[in-house]
């Protein structure tokens, strides 16, 4: 079993300054399993990812922190080092360059940095990497479009769900209500209150 006390400390530490760092970590799907977490990073400014919020699935192996955490984008993202198919990440510190003195927060911050500075020479997604190198404007447009399409709505919805749930409504009901009003938070609140 991995070092539970360290992971707990990491979570507290990371979420303390999430407003500044733009990264945060929560238990996955509101579960209670410390080995399955969900990271959130905001898209860096003046990149095609600006304005997006990206969710990352984090799984901790039993050897953590002596073995690297497994991370994968949940939110679809158009980036040379991230698979457009399944969100797999190509980043050295998640592989052989992992060090036990690194933390989940540093790893998420590195992912943020990766969004700002792609490394197309060591690609995870060959198609994206080729586009990045050969048709940069098209790449920027596609990445921006993907951010708009996947990283905004999904997170906006997530956020709205979280807020409404925190007001005391059951999550299932919140989700279906938001769905029925096309994501309009105020309409959903009205509907929830009147039902």
């Amino acid at each position: 079993m991995f070092d539970v006390s360290r992971v707990q400390k990491e979570l507290t530490e990371c979420n303390r300054d999430k407003a500044i760092s733009g990264v945060s970590i929560a238990l996955y799907e509101g579960g209670s399993d410390l080995s399955h977490l969900r990271g959130t990073i905001t898209g860096p400014v003046s990149t095609p990812y600006e304005g997006g919020t990206f969710l990352i699935d984090i799984q901790l192996p039993s050897g953590y922190p002596f073995e690297p955490p497994k991370m994968q984008f949940i939110t679809k993202v158009w980036h040379p080092n991230i698979s457009s198919q399944n969100g797999a990440i190509c980043l050295d510190i998640l592989k052989d360059q992992w060090s036990p003195a690194l933390t989940l927060k540093t790893a998420l911050v590195s992912l943020q940095a990766l969004l700002s500075a792609p490394e197309p020479d060591d690609p995870q997604d060959a198609v994206v990497a080729k586009q990045y190198l050969q048709e940069y404007p098209t790449f920027v447009a596609t990445a921006r479009y993907w951010t708009e399409a996947f990283a905004r709505t999904s997170v906006a919805i997530e956020e709205k769900v979280r807020r409404l749930v925190e007001m005391g409504f059951p999550e299932d009901l919140v989700k279906s209500t938001l769905d029925s009003v096309n994501g309009d938070e105020n309409l959903a609140l009205e509907k929830l209150c009147s039902s």
Binding site: G63, P65, F66, S99, P100, A101
Partner: protein
């Protein structure tokens, strides 16, 4: 020449100018040849020595000491350096000039020890891995200056050792390239997991074999426990003290004059016989009526099955029997296309070519197997001869002739796969013009044929029942055997020279290294001699390690080894209970090969060796 007329062998073979009829010439020739040998072998010298369980530590210490003395280093730092540079002491000396000490060390992960600052803070410090405050004596600082708590270091080491990375365990600090001090690793790990510490030590010891270009495990199955160290050219064939002969470069059976690549391709080809499969699929089609495979005969595309059904070769559909060259009655599939016919032709040609070479290769390996049975028969004949009324008492020429026969037969059989690749399209398609290729092929095949006919003659003489012959007849056979032995030896040598100088050397792109011809057969690897000087610690270390490695089994617990996987299984079954089986089998093999084989040449394919 006349004297051979009445001898049964000479009627069907040509007497080339290579067959020396005069024995004095032969002797003179062999003296000259001897001089040439030495010249030849100087360019390809290799010395092999065997590293046993007992001498491994000594061999490693020898190199360690050189490096420790040169740089005034601690043993663990010397080891880190040597592991990084693959135990190549000469290379380290070279790189010292090129890179300088600082870079040489840092690239290998050896920290500059002088820079170490001893921290003296008495207060508890926070370990940045477990985020706990720990008292200072529970913290260990590496040479690179990074410190973490002992618990965390230990976990880190265990994960790395279990992961098979014992030889280069890096510091835990991010981006720190320093390799952890093996002494620290040993101490911390053994305090908690003594068995893992043992494994760590064994990994370090075996690094001398596994991370070393000049040392290879003996490929024997079950494993004899030895490794072979080479000095000089690594493209050579060696013989372990267990009796097995192998190509040092690729660890498969000795295969010269084939290059390693040729041999690899050839064995693969023989295994799957893809050509045959290919030929059958291209050349037969199932009958639309009875579904038996039917072979096409001739250029006609209307084929008939033995069941009487006629069908169209191109589409497989049933047809009537009337047809012309370009159409079949009652049928218009329109698939009379050139390329189909060409493809068939090509597949057929490729198969015939492969079969040509394979049949000859096979014939000679089969002969080799049969001739290896001669060993006993000949021993019997010799003892009859020695006991009969005769003035001839010395029969070593028979034994020598037999050795020569095996060696040359071996060369002959491997010369066929060589020719298959040398003159085929697979490896050197664009390296030669068709004219060049034909010229070279003729040159080579002339030599091959000469060798072949003389080897057969030698074989024939050795198979005679000389024990019943008169002294004069025996003398005659002896002359033939001695002459032919010299001739085939020279022809083998010529063939290797031709391959190196005339065939391979002019090629631009291809690099095929062929292990040199050894006229006297492969030399058995010598026992490694390391001088044990007055170094007391060395001796005591050896004893303690010997106790440590009672469970010697180089194939156990190996992670990420390459060619050894297949020995592993045997070994794990064979000797998991004790080391006795591994040890004694080695000793047994060694004694038998020393005593029994003193005259007998094992220079033959491994498959033959198995059956003797």
């Amino acid at each position: 020449m006349a004297e051979y007329e009445d001898c049964p062998s000479s009627s069907d073979v040509e007497e080339g100018d290579c067959y020396l009829s005069d024995q004095e010439d032969a002797i003179e020739e062999s003296v000259l040849q001897g001089l040439e040998d030495r010249r030849e072998e100087e360019s390809h010298w290799s010395l092999s020595s065997v590293i046993t369980k007992e001498s491994l530590l000594a061999a490693q210490k020898e190199d360690l000491r050189k490096v420790m003395e040169l740089f005034a280093l601690k043993e663990q730092h010397a080891r880190t350096l040597l592991i990084h540079y693959r135990w190549d002491v000469e290379r380290i000396f070279e790189l010292l000039d090129q890179k300088g000490r600082e870079r040489l060390f840092s690239e290998a992960g050896v920290s500059n020890v002088e820079n170490k600052i001893l921290s003296t803070s008495p207060t508890p410090v926070m370990c940045t891995v477990c985020f706990e405050n720990v008292i200072e004596n529970a913290v260990t600082e590496m040479d690179c200056g990074h410190s973490f708590c002992n618990e965390c270091w230990t976990e880190h080491f265990i994960v790395k050792i279990n992961d098979g990375q014992s030889r280069r365990i890096r510091c835990m600090a991010p981006k720190c390239n320093a390799v952890c001090d093996e002494e620290v690793i040993r101490n911390l790990v053994s305090a908690k997991y003594p068995d893992v510490a043992d494994r760590f030590d064994r990994f370090l010891l075996e690094s001398y074999i596994e991370d070393n270009n000049k040392v290879k495990w003996c490929p024997s199955v079950p494993h004899c426990g030895n490794a072979i160290r080479i000095e000089g050219d690594i493209y050579c064939e060696v013989e372990c003290t267990c009796g097995i002969q192998f190509c040092f470069n690729c660890s498969s059976e000795a295969h010269s004059p084939c290059s390693c690549l040729m041999w690899e391709l050839w064995t693969k080809k023989c295994q799957d016989e893809s050509e045959t499969v290919n030929w059958i699929t291209v050349n037969t089609k199932p009958c639309p009526k009875c579904h038996k495979p039917v072979e096409k005969n001739g250029g006609c595309n209307l084929v008939a099955c033995i069941c009487g059904q006629a069908f169209c070769w191109l589409c497989g559909g049933a047809t009537g029997r009337d047809h012309t060259w370009s159409s079949i009655s009652g049928h218009s599939c329109g698939r009379f296309k050139e390329d189909q016919a060409k493809r068939t032709e090509r597949a057929r040609r490729d198969l015939y070519r492969y079969m040509h070479y394979h049949n000859r290769y096979k014939a000679h390996t089969d002969s080799l197997k049969q001739e290896s049975n001669l060993k006993e028969t000949i021993q019997g004949k010799i003892s009859i001869s020695e006991n009969k009324e005769s003035k001839i008492k010395d029969y070593t020429w028979v034994i020598n002739g037999l050795s020569r026969l095996f060696r040359s037969r071996r060369v002959l059989s491997y010369s066929y796969p060589f020719a298959y690749y040398m003159f085929g399209d697979e490896l050197f398609k664009d390296e030669m013009t068709p004219q060049e290729r034909e010229l070279k092929q003729n040159l080579f095949e002339d030599q091959q044929q000469q060798l072949e006919s003389n080897v057969e003659k030698l074989s024939m003489f050795l198979e005679t029942d000389f024990q019943f012959f008169s002294d004069d007849e025996v003398m005659d056979i002896m002359r033939h055997v001695i002459n032919l032995s010299n001739v085939v030896d020279r022809l083998c040598k010529q063939m290797y020279q031709c391959i190196e100088n005339d065939l391979l050397y002019p090629l631009q792109r291809a690099t095929h290294n062929i292990a040199p011809y050894k006229s006297k057969g492969l030399e058995k690897a010598s026992e490694l001699s390391v001088c044990w000087d007055s170094d007391q610690s060395l001796t005591s270390m050896k004893t303690s390690l010997d106790d440590h490695y009672v469970q010697w089994d180089p194939t156990q617990n190996r992670i990420g080894s390459t060619s050894h996987k297949r020995h592993c299984e045997h070994q794990l079954h064979g000797s998991s209970s004790s080391d006795d089986s591994g040890c004694s089998s080695r000793k047994r093999a060694r004694t038998s090969s020393h005593s029994g084989a003193s005259f007998f040449d094992l220079n033959m394919p491994a498959e033959v060796i198995d059956k003797i």
